[in-house]
């Protein structure tokens, strides 16, 4: 196969991944809400409800809350753009993505952090107590979650000798024994805790609350309405999907297409969708049995997962 052909294939993979994440992430959120409602004994809205909400919001007028500036208007768009770039760069259905050697793990994590920093700036920009409170809490959590993600990926990269995402995932897919190593298991737990924190799920933040004492993400985006709110919600859903996909690609890389055949790619796509749906259901089921942690207990949880990350790095130096 010549070079042009490979480029075309990886380009296709990336575009398909972006489209699947863009269209599928509201469905994932809908599925999680549905599962949660059923387990709590409610009927709940259908899986399509987040999409209906999005379409409704997109049709509304665009409002500028008084005194807000460019930071407020750009943050939602940046969130969706970063979600799309991450979806295009992370090997979700196949190991070859369009960014090639540029699909760097640290860069992807940095981009996701950039999006949450932009949203925090938007919260501060509103000059209300709610916006500031949400931004302050969100950045406190992110300041501790970021390092943990870096440690977890570092533990995995040390083995491969590269922070290139396709290389790490391909190495994991090639040998199952690597996945059962102490470094990998420690990193899996650390990363799982942080994914919950980064996506604002229980026990760190409750996505369904609007009580000012407890809310984090919702307080920060309180002033958004209409199409801007639709983008914020879409960005959050894409972030959740991408992070769950990253977790499954790193620790359960089975079914990810390593070749470029059409059949393998289709299979990879189906497996990715199935894995993400299962992870989402497990998450939703777990949330039913869990209460939100007090805000100032959250750092303890994150410090614990950071420690696991440090141990994972140490283990990757010592034990592999």
């Amino acid at each position: 196969m010549n070079e042009l052909d490979i480029t075309a294939r990886t380009m296709t993979v990336s575009v398909v991944q972006v489209l699947v994440v863009l269209l599928g992430s509201p469905l994932l959120v809908g599925l999680m809400r549905f599962v949660r409602a059923r387990m709590e004994g409610r009927v709940g809205a259908g899986v399509l409800q987040p999409w209906r909400d999005t379409v409704k919001l997109l049709r509304k007028h665009r409002l500028d809350p008084e005194g807000t500036g460019p930071a407020f208007r750009t943050a939602p768009v940046l969130g969706v753009a970063v979600g799309a770039v991450a979806a295009g760069a992370i090997p979700l259905m196949a190991t070859g993505t369009a960014f090639g050697t540029g699909a760097d793990m640290i860069a992807v994590i940095g981009l996701l952090a950039l999006a949450s920093a932009a949203l925090a700036l938007a919260g501060l920009d509103t000059a209300t107590a709610f916006g500031g409170m949400g931004a302050s809490r969100e950045m406190t959590i992110a300041a501790l979650a970021e390092p943990t993600i870096l440690m977890a990926v570092f533990a995995l990269s040390a083995r491969v000798g590269s922070t290139n995402l396709p290389a790490i995932v391909a190495a994991g897919a090639a040998g199952a024994s690597r996945l059962a190593s102490p470094a990998s298991l420690l990193a899996a737990v650390a990363l799982a805790v942080v994914v919950l924190a980064e996506c604002g799920r229980l026990p760190v933040d409750n996505p369904a609350t609007h009580l000012e004492l407890t809310m984090v993400h919702e307080a920060m985006v309180l002033e958004y309405s209409g199409p801007d709110l639709a983008l914020v919600e879409l960005g959050a859903a894409m972030r959740l999907t991408v992070l769950l996909g990253l977790w499954s690609s790193l620790f359960v890389p089975f079914g990810i297409a390593t070749g470029t055949g059409l059949g393998v790619l289709l299979l990879g796509l189906l497996v990715f969708a199935a894995k993400t749906a299962v992870l989402g259901c497990v998450l939703a089921a777990g949330e039913v049995f869990m209460a939100k942690l007090r805000l100032f207990r959250v750092p303890e949880l994150l410090a614990g997962s950071f420690l696991l990350g440090v141990l994972a790095v140490a283990a990757s130096f010592f034990l592999d």
């Binding site: 665009r62 500028d64 008084e66 930071a71 501060l124 920009d125 500031g132 950045m139 390092p147 440090v310």
Partner: protein, 669 residues
């Protein structure tokens, strides 16, 4: 014979610098600021050109025997010196352009304008020095001129900062003097070339002691914890262009000295040296950024961020030493290259941030983030450029700090090849420190930008801010271009970095092969591609929204919980933003809060007044320095009993001393 271009550039830099300094003294006020600033900028540009020439592979060496007593002056410029010359010269030039606007408006202080070109020249002289005495002369010149500039502001705070700085910089000088003179004595020569040749025959114990002394001396200049106490006091007190030069250029010279002596003169030495440097670097990085996260004074926040970044550079140097000791020269070179790249990127974004903070101070008269806010409407350009600098300091993609921290992590990823349990335990700790400081840096700079520049003004001073003048914006603009270049195309610096690492004496292999390796690793990160895709997507989505929108954007009131009006007093301030972080790191920073409740005269159940105050003192300063200061003060007070001013008593002391001396001499015979 044609003249050496490096020498010509250095001579031009020196000439223009002296012209600027003299001009400030003799010229009338009307043209003084412009003429001084112009020639200072020319001097800085020439210095940067000398550095660039050295980085492109040219060298220069000279011995001027008659310039100074005892051995004369030895000069030598290689690629390692080139990095620091280029950075210092560029920062100097940018700060000079900015200074034209800054000094014109307020406090056109003749002395400050005369001293600060000399300060910048002394910074250019340090990396050029090639003998112990020349280096120490340049070092002391740098310390004295910067001390004058720190004290220039006047006032109690500046006086106290000057005192701290004077004492600590001279303790550092004593450590350097002892270490380097000891080294020169052991090597029987004071030229760097001679010491490097003779250092193989010096005993390891002497070399170890010399390294510890030199680490203390250079480390204190680089803000290494626990010798950092002067830095967050002194840097904010100087006029803002000088703060930028101090924080972006002067501190780097501590790193230069450590690399020059540790690798160039002592050839690496033992592993524990570099383990110490690595651990102190990691400690500085984490401690610096935690203090920055809870700081509310904008310039002090930036100074603590300098402690963090220099800690990261020190960590990189330490990692290079350990890797070199483990027989991994290529990885060691990679770590050192990451450190040198971070020297350049930190200089770029810190210049931008300090100059931006200077514009804020100039426009509002305060550096307290709690009193600022809302500057975005009045100072839109400054806000945008400060945001770019903050992006760099937060080490997020698209920012200047990202590629260098990324490169440092790349070198550590391969560190599992090294042997030795101690190093294998320390390296994860180092990676953890980098990760933690990166995470906290994001929160810190969201706070600085969000509470300082966005939202609504929280004081009348912030409300009446004005945009900076043309030359100040020009200075900020040049620094911003440098930030963008380093952030988007860091790969272009690979050949220059390879030459610098080679000149440091760390790697003794084929240069081209190593440069290729650096370029290859650099090419696996394509910040330009990632940033371009993100920017394009943002523009595309915005355009799509605009096309599909039914009506233009409309203003709407903020949600005020049904109890209007919303006032600026309800906003989150920098203090309240950092409060959760302060709670998280309660054990590390030990904040002091004081609640003072005054009861009514009639009844103790009625409260008349509640006063709450909170301060976050530097804990290391409190626990480590104040006991020493108190002990010295107590000793001084006790000594007043011995020396109470009575002439009879002093005569008695003299008599006793003579007797004791005679007895000793008699016994010694």
């Amino acid at each position: 014979m044609s003249a050496n271009p490096v020498a010509v550039a250095l001579a031009v830099a020196g000439g223009f610098g002296l012209v600027a300094s003299t001009g400030a003294l003799v010229l009338p006020a009307r043209i003084r600021v412009l003429a001084t600033g112009g020639s200072a900028a020319a001097s800085g540009t020439a210095g940067a050109a000398a550095g660039a020439l050295a980085l492109s592979g040219r060298t220069y060496a000279a011995h001027l025997p008659n310039l100074l007593p005892l051995g004369g002056v030895y000069l030598r410029v290689d690629a390692l010196a080139g990095v620091f010359l280029a950075v210092t010269g560029a920062v100097f030039a940018v700060a000079a352009v900015y200074g034209i606007g800054y000094f014109r408006g307020h406090g056109s202080n003749r002395a400050v304008q005369a001293v600060w070109p000399l300060f910048a020249l002394s910074l250019l002289l340090v990396p050029v020095a090639a003998s112990v005495s020349t280096l120490l002369y340049a070092w002391e010149l740098m310390a004295l001129t910067s001390l004058l500039l720190v004290c220039a502001g006047g006032g109690e705070q500046a006086r106290s900062a000057g005192l701290w700085y004077a004492v600590m910089t001279h303790l550092g000088l004593v450590a350097l003097l002892a270490g380097l003179v000891w080294l020169a004595a052991a090597a029987h020569t004071e030229t760097f070339a001679g010491i490097a040749a003779a250092s193989g025959s010096i005993s390891p114990a002497v070399k170890g002691a010399v390294f510890v002394l030199v680490l203390a001396g250079f480390g204190s200049k680089a803000g290494m914890v626990p010798l950092h106490a002067w830095l967050p006091r002194a840097h904010p007190e100087a006029p803002s262009p000088v703060s930028a030069v101090m924080s972006a250029a002067m501190v780097n010279l501590g790193v230069y000295g450590l690399v020059r002596v540790g690798f160039g003169l002592l050839h690496g030495g033992s592993r524990w040296w570099w383990l110490t440097a690595l651990l102190l670097g990691a400690l500085s990085a984490v401690y610096g950024i935690i203090q920055a996260a809870v700081e509310t004074d904008l310039k002090r926040l930036l100074a603590y961020s300098t402690v963090e970044n220099l800690g990261l550079i020190l960590l990189a140097v330490g990692a290079a030493g350990i890797l070199s000791d483990s027989g991994q020269p290529v990885l060691a070179a990679l770590a050192l290259a990451a450190g040198l790249l971070h020297v350049a990127t930190h200089a770029a974004f810190k210049t931008l941030l300090f100059l931006g903070a200077g514009s804020v101070l100039h426009a509002t008269g305060t550096r307290d983030l709690d009193e600022l806010g809302g500057l975005r409407t009045r100072m839109p350009v400054t806000t945008g450029l400060f945001a770019l600098g903050a992006l760099g300091a937060a080490a997020l993609p698209g920012g200047a700090g990202f590629p260098s921290e990324w490169l440092l992590l790349q070198s550590l990823i391969h560190a599992r090849v090294i042997s030795g349990a101690a190093a294998l335990v320390m390296l994860p700790v180092a990676v953890g420190a980098i990760a933690l400081s990166a995470g906290l840096a994001v929160a810190t700079f969201v706070k600085a930008l969000g509470t300082g520049f966005l939202a609504k003004p929280r004081s009348a001073r912030a409300e009446h801010a004005h945009e900076a003048s043309g030359p100040m914006l020009a200075g900020l603009g040049i620094a911003a271009v440098a930030c963008l270049a380093l952030a988007l195309v860091p790969g272009t610096s690979a050949p220059a970095l390879a030459r610098a690492v080679n000149a440091a004496g760390l790697y003794v292999g084929g240069l081209p092969e190593y440069a290729d390796r650096l370029t290859a690793i650099g090419s696996t990160l394509s910040p330009l591609l990632v940033v371009a895709v993100v920017v394009l997507l943002v523009l595309a989505i915005k355009a799509l929204l605009k096309i599909t929108a039914r009506a233009p954007r409309r203003a709407a009131p903020l949600w005020d919980c049904g109890a209007p009006p919303l006032t600026a007093r309800m906003e989150y301030t920098a203090t309240s933003f950092a409060e959760p972080l302060q709670r998280v790191f309660d054990d590390v920073i030990a904040p002091e809060s004081d609640l003072d409740v005054t009861q009514h005269d009639e009844s103790e159940y009625l409260v008349a007044r509640v006063a709450y105050s909170r301060a976050v003192p530097d804990r290391i300063e409190h626990r480590l320095y104040l006991p020493v200061v108190h002990t010295v003060r107590r000793a001084g007070r006790m000594a007043t009993h011995v020396a109470n001013g009575s002439v009879h008593r002093y005569l008695g002391y003299g008599f006793c001393a003579v007797i004791v001396l005679l007895v000793v001499l008699a016994a010694a015979r």
